[in-house]
Structure formats: structure tokens, C-alpha cells
């Protein structure tokens, strides 16, 4: 049975990796989501379809893609990213970016036309409109962030392949569940699984709290 400190380490690694991945994915998905949703261009339909289909990319596939790119033989091998938390962040980013972008595109396409009319008459620039949309409808964006974060922190396969499940460094919650279960320490798997569930419950409650106040 690993010490509590190792379990806590795994939780911290999971939180760190998935939080940063979600931060990046959220920023980029607002940026690209806004661009795609508010304009008409030739490839729009295809890009939206591709994004949609990428939402269900299997984690191991995302892991494999990143692995091929960052291993020594790959194009970015010189960056020495394999077996680092950064690699895990990149892999999780790939998993959650499509779904967050798709959700934001859907939301903006609904809201933007109405909001735009009103705000442009007040002299708002495009950037202002997006910022106002985010600030006003916090709960929608919070929901999207939570969906992304939830998907990132509970995935197993992507971070495991590119991170290597290294003790203290890249062994996150899901990697530890897999390792300890394989070693027969079922209790650890249950504990960490319960932690994940409690985490998502807490986040859901937080979201609903915000929604009530909107």
C-alpha cells in the first residue's frame, strides 16, 4: 500500500497537468471558437465537422500522436518533451480542445447575432463583445471549462503513454489507479476513483452556484 504522500502527489500532478491543459484549451477554444463562429469562410463546414468528430478521439490515440511527435525519432524529439508533465499537458490539450471549441462555437452562434446588434450600436469592438459575452454568461463558459477539465483529469492513456507514469513526476491519479490495481492494491484504486468523483461533484456544485447567481 503506497504511503498517503504518494497518493497526494498523484492528485497534485493530476490537478496541475489537467488544470494547465484546460487553461490553454479554454483560451485557444475561445479564440478559435469566436473566429470560426462569427465568420463565414470556405472551409467552415469542414472545420466544424472535423472538430466535432475529434471530440471523441480515444485518449490512447491522442497519446500515440503526441508520442510519435516528441519521441527522439519524431520531429520535435530535440525538445526532450517525452516523459515530462509538459507532454502530458499537450496530450490532454488535444483531447479536450475539440469539444471545448465545438461547445463554444455552438454557444456563440446562438448568442452572437443578437448580442452583436445591440452592442455594436453602443460602439463595441469585436474583442469587447467577446469579453462581455464571457463576463455576462459566466456559467456557460464555466460549464465548458468544467467539461474540459473533467475529461482531462479522468482520461487514462494519453498522459500515461507520453508521461511514462514516472514516480513523483508524471504518475497522475489515473496512472496510479492503473499501476496499483495491477499490483493488486485495489484499495488505492478505489480511493483515487472516489477522489475523482468527489472532485467532479464539488465542481458541479460550484457551477450550479454560479448559475443561480447569473
Amino acid at each position: 500500500m503506497p504511503e498517503t504522500s504518494k497518493i497526494i502527489e498523484a492528485i497534485i500532478i493530476s490537478l496541475h497537468v489537467s488544470f494547465i491543459a484546460t487553461l490553454f484549451a479554454f483560451s485557444l477554444s475561445i479564440f478559435f471558437g469566436y473566429l470560426i463562429a462569427t465568420r463565414q469562410f470556405f472551409a467552415k463546414k469542414y472545420i466544424v465537422s472535423i472538430l466535432g468528430s475529434l471530440t471523441s478521439i480515444p485518449p490512447v490515440c491522442a497519446g500515440l500522436i503526441v508520442y510519435l511527435i516528441i519521441s527522439r525519432q519524431g520531429p520535435l524529439g530535440w525538445m526532450q518533451l517525452l516523459y515530462t508533465p509538459t507532454a502530458m499537458i499537450i496530450a490532454q490539450f488535444i483531447i479536450i480542445f475539440p469539444i471545448m471549441t465545438t461547445l463554444i462555437i455552438n454557444y456563440i452562434e446562438q448568442e452572437y447575432p443578437q448580442v452583436k446588434e445591440e452592442l455594436i450600436s453602443y460602439g463595441a469592438s469585436q474583442k469587447d463583445i467577446v469579453m462581455l459575452m464571457i463576463i455576462n454568461q459566466k456559467s456557460i463558459y464555466l460549464t465548458i471549462v468544467l467539461i474540459g477539465f473533467g475529461r482531462a483529469i479522468s482520461e487514462y492513456g494519453a498522459a500515461a503513454i507520453v508521461g511514462g507514469s514516472i514516480d513523483h513526476i508524471t504518475r497522475n491519479m489515473t496512472a496510479m489507479i492503473a499501476l496499483e490495481t495491477a499490483k493488486g492494491n485495489i484499495l488505492v484504486g478505489v480511493t483515487l476513483g472516489a477522489t475523482l468523483i468527489i472532485l467532479s461533484l464539488l465542481m458541479s456544485f460550484g457551477i450550479n452556484y454560479f448559475r443561480k447567481n447569473d
Partner: protein
């Protein structure tokens, strides 16, 4: 547009901060990892020398393949033939005997195949080849898998092909899990077996035969072939394992009061 600038700054910052590498990567087997040995060795070496050891437990075959692509600094595996080939092909500097233990054959408590009173490994394998008894194979190019294939071969048998021969393609510990579930026979290393917590109804049914000897080797990856490897740090770690405190840690490492790995004198 300022969004893009912000994002690209983040990424550039990340990549710059990663240029210096103060850790070494060890490509190793699941048997060394699942016993907890690699974690202990990494921790102690870091405390003593400040050099971080990142050990990846992927199985012998994968470890060797990864090492051949330059994805590591050190190789610790248990397949002597492949290790010697690795050196011959110029991928490694030198092979050292690191430690050893032995393989065992485990199976259901009541031993339906009746292997526990056999003396000859060939007789044991002949029994296990029968479709009446389930046998779990790792089927993953690991050291254990290679040993299993060798045992079939030296007994003069083909690798079984029927439904009683189950290939998991997984780590040692995972294979034990499957064997427990299916109440099947399995070749495992003693180290993983001792440290495995869910043995249930399985017990050791055949052991202490000279064909079940399990030696581990350690090899530094050749800096001439891969200039980016941290050769000096690797040499330090290898010496520490062979002659320094690492050697003591390995032989003192016990789970359930049993020693898992033995060092050479």
C-alpha cells in the same frame, strides 16, 4: 491577435525551460517497477547525488526498442541474448550483470495439471500445453515472455494455439490478475509475485529449477550513437548500482520480509 501572442509566448517559454536536462531516463521492465524497486532506487540516488532518475516501466522488448530509437539513457532488462545483441549492434556501451532472481510457475491451489510433483521442466511444460488447463502468456516481448517461449522450445513443444492459451499482451502484474481471475497457470518472476497483493487462490507450483534463472542486465546507451544521452550521469548511476549504495538497496529490498532481487559478489 494579442491572444495568439500570449499563447505563443507560453509555448516558447515552456520549450526554452526544457533545454537543460538534469535527469536520466531508464528504460526498464514491469517486473522491476511493479515490485517498487525502481522507485526506491530513483529516490535514494536523487537524495544522494541530486540527479533525478526517471524510470519508465514498459517491458523488456519495448524498452530495448525505445533505447534503439534513443529514447533513454540506460537500459535495465532481463533478456541476456537481446542485451548482448544490443551491445553488438552498437547501441550500448557495455552490459553488466545487475541482479538476479528466478521465475516460478503459479497456478490454482488444487493443481489440476499435477505439475507440483514433476522434477523436469519439460514434463511441466508438456502438461501445461494440454488444452485442459488454462495458461496465461504475456505475449508482449517482455523478458518473461521470451523466457516462456524458450521453455516451450526446449521442451520440444510448439507454443499452444488453442483457447486454453490466453495472451494478455500486458505487464506481469496485470497477467497475474488475469491468472487469478481465470484460475490459470502462469510463468512469473518471483519478485513481482511476492509483491503482488491479490494472489487469491493461486500458489507457487513449480520452482527452483536451473532453467528458471532470471538475470537482469544494465547497459548505458551509447553516446557515440546518440550524442544527446547523459552518459556521465548514466555511468554514475550504473556504478552506484553495481558497487555503491544501490547494490545494498537492491539486496536489502524486501517485501513481506522476503528478498526479491539478489546481487552478484
Amino acid at each position: 491577435m494579442s491572444f495568439l501572442k500570449l499563447i505563443s509566448t507560453f509555448f516558447i517559454f515552456f520549450s526554452i525551460s526544457l533545454q537543460a536536462r538534469d535527469y536520466i531516463i531508464v528504460q526498464s521492465t514491469t517486473s522491476t517497477a511493479n515490485t517498487g524497486l525502481l522507485d526506491i532506487l530513483s529516490e535514494r540516488f536523487f537524495i544522494q547525488t541530486g540527479i533525478e532518475v526517471r524510470a519508465v516501466a514498459v517491458g523488456t522488448g519495448t524498452a530495448i526498442a525505445n533505447a534503439k530509437k534513443g529514447d533513454g539513457d540506460i537500459l535495465i532488462v532481463h533478456s541476456k541474448l537481446d542485451e548482448l545483441n544490443f551491445i553488438e549492434e552498437g547501441f550500448g556501451v557495455e552490459r553488466f550483470d545487475l541482479m538476479y532472481n528466478d521465475f516460478i510457475i503459479v497456478g490454482p491451489k488444487n493443481d489440476p495439471a499435477n505439475i507440483s510433483n514433476k522434477k523436469d521442466i519439460a514434463d511441466v511444460m508438456k502438461q501445461l500445453a494440454s488444452s485442459k488447463y488454462k495458461f496465461i502468456s504475456r505475449d508482449d516481448n517482455s523478458g518473461t515472455h521470451k523466457k516462456e517461449l524458450l521453455l516451450w522450445k526446449t521442451a520440444g513443444l510448439q507454443v499452444p494455439k488453442d483457447n486454453s492459451y490466453l495472451k494478455t499482451g500486458s505487464s506481469m502484474a496485470n497477467a497475474i490478475n488475469v491468472a487469478v481471475e481465470m484460475q490459470a497457470y502462469l510463468l512469473t518472476d518471483r519478485g513481482t509475485w511476492i509483491s503482488f497483493k491479490n494472489k487469491n487462490n493461486l500458489k507457487i507450483l513449480f520452482e527452483k529449477n536451473e532453467s528458471l534463472f532470471n538475470p537482469y542486465g544494465v547497459i548505458a546507451i551509447n553516446p557515440k550513437k546518440f550524442p544527446h544521452v547523459e552518459y556521465q550521469k548514466s555511468k554514475k548511476f550504473i556504478n552506484w548500482l553495481l558497487k555503491g549504495e544501490g547494490k545494498q538497496l537492491i539486496s536489502n529490498y524486501k517485501v513481506d520480509n522476503q528478498q526479491l532481487f539478489f546481487t552478484y559478489n
